[in-house]
């Protein structure tokens, strides 16, 4: 038995205290967070239903864990080899076994019933008050508001991207699909996630209690810039939502021809409009019709009509607002939020550095497949926005033009 | 071949259930006895192994059949199942395959009787019938191809060809095994107990036949 003589004895009690202390510290400090995508901070009834189900299960699981650890720590201390004789060779106790099988089974039945209840409640679609469609593609989200009586009435379909705006206290039903690979729509504060699968349409209930901006991220691995495919849901009080809606449907206002923005319009038509749509944009030959099908593998590019009414761009990877302005909007109280959001992006608040870098070369800011050498498998079409080799003057003009898109 | 010479019988005790069959019990000296497997279940290792393999094959074909059943109606281009199948023709080739199972049974019976000539005869006939079936498949596929059903034409076509192709490959492997076995019997190169080897090839062959019955029913007979 020489091998066992080298077994050193361990101060079990000290170990146990250290372990319990660490776990408690971890748990308590963890609760001190307010991460934007925190799943334990529900801000709408759907997320709340999940949370009401989740935390008791965690509590029960935690309790079971503590009991098991306590038993093991007790055993480690009490039954350590201190030279006692060979212990009683018990082979088992069926009554105990069966009991300790039935108890967990009962606990699980107790968990199963509310689980199914919550599941069915979250699958309800008949009480929809507002329908929004969502399309995932590499690596951004398109948001479409179909013509409907819901959402306070939408007379004409319109499209935005990256930020979905909804009225508070309204049962929104998101219907989504993908234009290329599987993505997943997840805004944790408002509900769990739902995969967006090409060829299929999946629905997800969404409702926000209070005005605010709720962060989300794509949560199904979708390739190179999966990590950069983000979105936000913006909830506005109903009258603010009406104002926002009306603004989205406003007619196109062409900038003054001689101004920087006017020159920007020309650059836009020449360089951007083949993929990006701006509603109502015309040139001498008539309305500009974009044809992203030809250039982009997923067949779509973000609609930029009202770019500056949202405050993120490039698949919500970058902010359109400077840090200070961003904090003002993101940190606003529910009462102030609507007004601040509706201010949109002003020239003073524009995060010009990021936007410039993007226009200079989008692929250098976000990993995408845009290099000609990489496009053999997609018939020469890009997955993402290519480098357009714009010069600084063109970028100045474009920025002036884009600033007016609101 | 490991049938032992009479003089050696007394000197043998073996590793348990080594894959040449018919070995004796453990730790003691026994006479070598034909056909007796001293395994814990009584089944020889080879037979048990073959059954396990066939069990796994059920899942293989299960996956392929499920894929076909999901995609049989998805005909974006080209002909669909009701336009292309020639049930009478396929029924005849199915019958041929079914008969090959009968001849396989006869081969196994001959092997059990140690009737070398008839064993080889029935194995060969089985192989020929199997080859006829495969020939029928090839003819069928080339006809479908000419009628516009290529491999990549539609989901229906891809899953149809993949399912029946895998089956056809299994039949072909079976034919090779049958003919190889005939050759090995002729040259007395069968390692292990000959009647058991024939039986195991028979098990495989019957399995392939049963899979075809399932495929024929689900794919051809039940309308999409």
């Amino acid at each position: 038995m020489s091998a066992l003589a080298t077994v050193t004895s361990v101060p079990a009690r000290r170990r146990a205290i250290a372990l319990i202390g660490t776990v408690c510290a971890l748990v308590m400090t963890a609760c001190a967070e307010d991460a934007p995508q925190d799943t334990w901070q529900p801000e709408g009834p759907n997320a709340q239903k999940i949370h009401n189900l989740q935390w008791p299960v965690f509590a029960v699981a935690g309790l079971v864990g503590v009991i098991v650890f306590a038993a093991i720590i007790y055993e480690v201390v009490k039954f350590k080899d201190r030279g006692q004789p060979i212990p009683k060779q018990t082979h088992g106790k069926p009554a105990l076994e069966i009991g300790l099988t039935i108890v967990p089974a009962l606990i699980l039945i107790g968990v199963a019933v509310p689980t199914v209840g919550t599941l069915l409640a979250l699958a309800e679609t008949d009480d929809t008050e507002c329908s929004v469609n969502v399309y995932g593609q590499q690596w951004w989200w398109a948001v479409e508001y179909p013509q409907q009586d819901g959402c306070g009435g939408i007379s004409e379909e319109f499209v935005t991207s990256g930020q979905m705006v909804i009225p508070t206290g309204t049962k929104v039903l998101i219907s989504g699909t993908s234009n290329d690979v599987i993505h997943s729509w997840w805004v944790p504060a408002l509900n769990g996630k739902r995969d967006m699968v090409p060829g299929r349409v999946h629905t997800l209930r969404t409702e926000a209690d209070d005005p605010g901006i709720y962060a989300g991220q794509c949560t199904e691995f979708c390739g190179l810039s999966h990590a950069n495919m983000k979105m936000e849901i913006v909830a506005l009080a109903p009258d603010d939502f009406e104002a926002w809606k009306a603004n989205q449907l406003e007619d196109y206002k062409s900038p003054e021809e001689a101004s920087l923005a006017g020159q920007g319009e020309a650059v836009f038509i020449q360089q951007c409009s083949r993929c990006h749509t701006v509603n109502g944009l015309e040139d001498a030959n008539g309305p500009i019709v974009s044809d992203p099908e030809q250039y982009v593998y997923s067949g779509v590019a973000p609609n930029l009509t009202n770019l500056m009414t949202r405050n993120t761009f490039a698949g919500a990877m970058f902010d359109l607002l400077t840090d200070q302005c961003r904090d003002r909007v993101w940190g606003a109280s529910p009462e102030e939020f609507g007004d601040r959001y509706l201010e949109a992006v002003t020239p003073e608040c524009l995060n010009e550095v990021e936007l410039r870098e993007w226009l200079r070369s989008a692929p250098s800011k976000k990993p995408m497949y845009t290099d000609a050498s990489e496009l053999g498998a997609t018939d020469g079409r890009t997955r993402g926005m290519p480098n357009l080799a714009l010069n600084e003057e063109q970028i100045d003009q474009l920025i002036a033009y884009l600033l007016e898109r609101k | 071949m490991t049938d032992l010479e009479p003089g050696q019988a007394a000197a043998v005790s073996t590793a348990h259930g080594v894959d040449d069959v018919g070995e004796t019990t453990v730790g003691e000296v026994h006479h070598h006895m034909h056909g007796v497997s001293d395994t814990s279940t009584g089944l020889s290792n080879n037979k048990l192994g073959m059954w396990l393999f066939l069990g796994s094959e059920c899942l293989l074909f299960g996956g392929l059949i499920s894929t076909y059943m999901l995609y049989r109606g998805r005909v974006t281009r080209g002909p669909g199942p009701d336009q292309i199948y020639d049930i009478p023709f396929t029924s005849v080739s199915s019958f041929v395959l079914l008969m090959s199972s009968l001849t396989m049974v006869l081969a196994v019976a001959s092997a059990n009787r140690r009737d070398v000539r008839n064993t080889k005869l029935w194995l060969t006939v089985t192989a020929l019938l199997g080859a006829t079936f495969v020939g029928g498949q090839v003819y069928e596929f080339t006809t479908f191809y000419r009628e516009g059903l290529g491999y990549t034409t539609s989901l229906f076509s891809s899953s149809f060809y993949t399912l029946t192709g895998f089956h056809g490959v299994h039949v072909t492997v079976g034919i090779i095994m049958l003919l190889a076995l005939v050759g090995m019997i002729s040259r007395d190169r069968v390692t292990g107990e000959r009647s058991e080897v024939v039986e195991l090839v028979g098990l495989y062959w019957h399995f392939v036949d049963i899979v075809w019955i399932v495929i024929f029913t689900l794919v051809y007979l039940i309308p999409a």
């Binding site: 020489s2 400090t29 038993a71 039954f79 699958a123 990590a227 | 490991t2 539609s154």
Partner: protein
């Protein structure tokens, strides 16, 4: 009476009486007992077990380095250690390597080594098939990793969801190598399954009834049965994907009407049983180790066995819990949510039984015992977080976040890996003749445990705070305010991973140190219970001098101890030492023991597989050549008897001991 311990590499038997060689010159059957040929052509389950184990540990280190790179990238915000492209390859290969090239082969290796010994057999049912299985595994591992050097490794995640796995979205050959590598390792696993199940069913020693088999053998049997039926399903999925990528089939083309969920269903019908395949062998190991170091039998042996079998069956009915957010519809989700909760029950039974085994025992905290206890603690954590995902609505918040990563690392690292390490420390004297150094072992255990908890513990937090999986970078904007935000915990995880790596390194150092410096181990260092300990250290070629007749569970223990108490009183008295028992065996040794002979054909057949695979990528002509090689090897194999003919041995040279394996006297 001392046992003559068999030195590592010489054969002490009288030279065989042979006739001069009449075989095929340089292609005659390999029968060497020494040197590289005795390893490369071996069919001995013990040597193959060592080969499996060594290769698996090598891939563990490879997968570990891949993990360290991932953690280095995520240690800070917007990391620049790895590009997004390389990161995708890294996490794909980390998971693939750990699952297919480490965990499954490690369990197979331990099973190969120990199961015949535990049931009183001299080898497995199909020794050449066993050899083929090892070489095919190695070939598959090489094919998988060749991709790194030939255009980039697979980058679609180990779960390889369609349509992201098709050519337009992943044009490099990485995924093709992945498909082929896993097909090859799948073939290896399938053959192992057929082999081990047949062995356990058919080759038990007299009296070794099923309910007297050690739990490790039971768990291996369930595991191999799962493999037998799960591998064909992923084989189908991989073929469909291969045909899609190589021959433009339309199985996952949405334009043709394909349903991407087909891949998910096929993959997870394999994938869920796979996770039980990964953890059940370690459950078996722990069920052996805990009783020995508690000096009590396993509590509730029948319950442990039947719960393992129950897990095996029930594991087929839960696969769609990996798809709760995939759009299945509430009815399917409800059904799978409930079935997932039910599978927690048999798993919980095991935790109860292990805890109760230690209760009232006489606990010796050897390194093996520490690892076994570590499994009980860490797996409990992982299992409980698993229960929280069984609640499907909660899972829609948790899935695809780091909370899931935490869960499966606790059950896989805390479960499977700690179990393997317990097995290493426990069985090292049996396999290599020396006990691993205990002091280094303690350091190994504690650094691994601390490292593991530092790495994966915080992931529970970051996941619940919204950090998604499979993201090459995290940003300060989504990380939250305060000091203890997502960023902080990612840094802790990353530091923890390096602590863990040092712990693993200590194991490797221990192996080398033990080989160089430790003395030979006594015959029965742990006073163990099961039959594999009733052999020399390491066992002789033929395992048992005479095959034992079994009369009870823990047969070896019962030969050493007898209960001489009266009535209800128990009084265990030692009646024999291991040395005495072995000497008795040796005295009754069988005179002639036929062992299966080494062979070329398994290796040749295994080598033909990567040739076929490379042809799929580089030109079908190559596949045809590989196919012909395979057919040639199969025929050679079929025509070769299991045991070498006398004519394959060289005539003895005067006075020199034979360098060839003895297969008959």
């Amino acid at each position: 009476m001392a046992i003559i311990e068999r030195p590592a590499d010489t054969v002490t038997s009288p030279p065989p009486l042979v006739t001069p060689s009449t075989a095929y010159g340089s292609f005659r059957r390999p029968v060497q007992a020494e040197g590289w040929r005795s390893w490369v052509f071996t069919v001995d389950h013990k040597r193959l077990g060592i080969m499996y184990g060594t290769t698996a540990v090598f891939f563990f280190v490879v997968g570990g380095v891949e993990a360290l790179m991932i953690r280095a990238q995520l240690a800070g915000p917007e990391g620049t250690v790895l590009s997004s492209d390389v990161y995708s390859q890294m996490f794909t290969m980390h998971a693939t390597t750990m699952i297919f090239l480490f965990a499954v082969p490690m369990a197979t290796g331990l099973a190969n080594y120990l199961v015949p010994l535990q049931i009183g057999a001299r080898d497995v049912a199909f020794p050449r098939l066993n050899a083929f299985g090892y070489w095919a595994f190695l070939a598959g591992g090489i094919v998988l990793n060749l991709a790194w050097f030939l255009g980039g490794a697979a980058d679609g995640g180990w779960f390889m969801y369609a349509p992201n796995s098709s050519v337009p979205f992943s044009p490099s050959n990485g995924i093709d190598f992945w498909i082929l590598g896993i097909q090859i390792t799948g073939i290896a696993s399938l053959t192992s399954a057929i082999n081990l199940i047949t062995t356990v069913l058919n080759m038990r020693a007299p009296g070794m009834k099923f309910m007297r088999m050690p739990v490790f053998t039971w768990m291996v049997t369930v595991t191999q049965s799962l493999l037998l039926f799960a591998i064909p399903v992923i084989t189908v999925a991989l073929f469909l994907l291969m045909f899609q990528r190589t021959f433009d089939a339309t199985f996952f083309s949405v334009e043709a009407g394909a349903d991407p969920l087909l891949w998910q269903h096929l993959f997870w019908i394999f994938g869920h049983p796979e996770v039980y395949i990964l953890v059940l062998p370690s459950f078996g190991i722990v069920s052996e180790v805990l009783p020995v170091f508690s000096r009590k039998p396993l509590f509730g042996y029948p319950f442990v066995v039947f719960s393992g079998i129950a897990i095996g069956f029930m594991g087929w009915g839960v696969w769609a819990h990996h798809m709760f957010a995939s759009g299945l519809g509430p009815l399917s989700v409800a059904v799978f949510s409930i079935s997932t909760m039910t599978i927690a029950v048999p798993t919980g039974v095991k935790i109860v039984n292990w805890t109760m085994t230690m209760w009232g025992g006489k606990l010796r905290f050897s390194t093996a015992m520490l690892f076994a206890m570590g499994l009980v603690v860490q797996f409990t954590i992982g299992g409980l977080s698993g229960v929280t995902h069984a609640v499907a609505p909660s899972d829609t918040q948790q899935t695809d976040t780091y909370y899931i990563v935490a869960h499966f690392h606790y059950v896989l690292f805390g479960g499977a890996v700690l179990g393997f390490f317990a097995g290493f420390y426990y069985w090292w004297p049996k396999i290599f003749g020396k006990c691993l150094n205990e002091r280094l072992g303690k350091w190994n255990f504690w650094l691994m445990t601390i490292g593991m908890n530092m790495t994966f513990g915080p992931m529970h937090i970051t996941g619940l705070q919204g950090q998604p999986r499979r993201t090459y970078q995290w940003t300060p904007e989504r990380a939250g305010e305060g000091f203890f935000n997502i960023g902080f915990w990612n840094l802790v995880s990353s530091i923890g991973s390096f602590v863990l790596a040092v712990g693993v390194l200590l194991f490797l150092i221990n192996v080398i140190h033990t080989h160089r410096k430790e003395p030979p181990a006594p015959l029965d260092p742990w006073d163990a219970r099961a039959l594999e300990w009733m052999t020399t250290n390491p066992p002789k070629e033929h395992n048992f001098d005479t095959v034992p007749t079994v009369t009870a569970l823990d047969e070896f223990f019962h030969r050493k101890y007898q209960d001489v108490g009266e009535g209800d009183a128990h009084d265990l008295q030692r009646i024999a030492t291991a040395e005495e028992i072995l000497a008795e065996q040796e005295a009754k040794a069988d005179e002639h023991i036929h062992l299966p002979s080494p062979s070329y054909w398994p290796l040749l057949l295994a080598l033909s597989l990567p040739v076929i695979a490379l042809g799929v990528i580089y030109g079908l002509v190559v596949s045809v050549v590989g196919g012909m090689l395979a057919i040639f090897a199969i025929f050679g194999w079929a025509l070769e008897p299991a045991t070498a003919d006398d004519s394959e041995f060289d005539p003895p040279v005067d006075d020199e001991p034979s360098t060839e394996l003895v297969t008959s006297d």
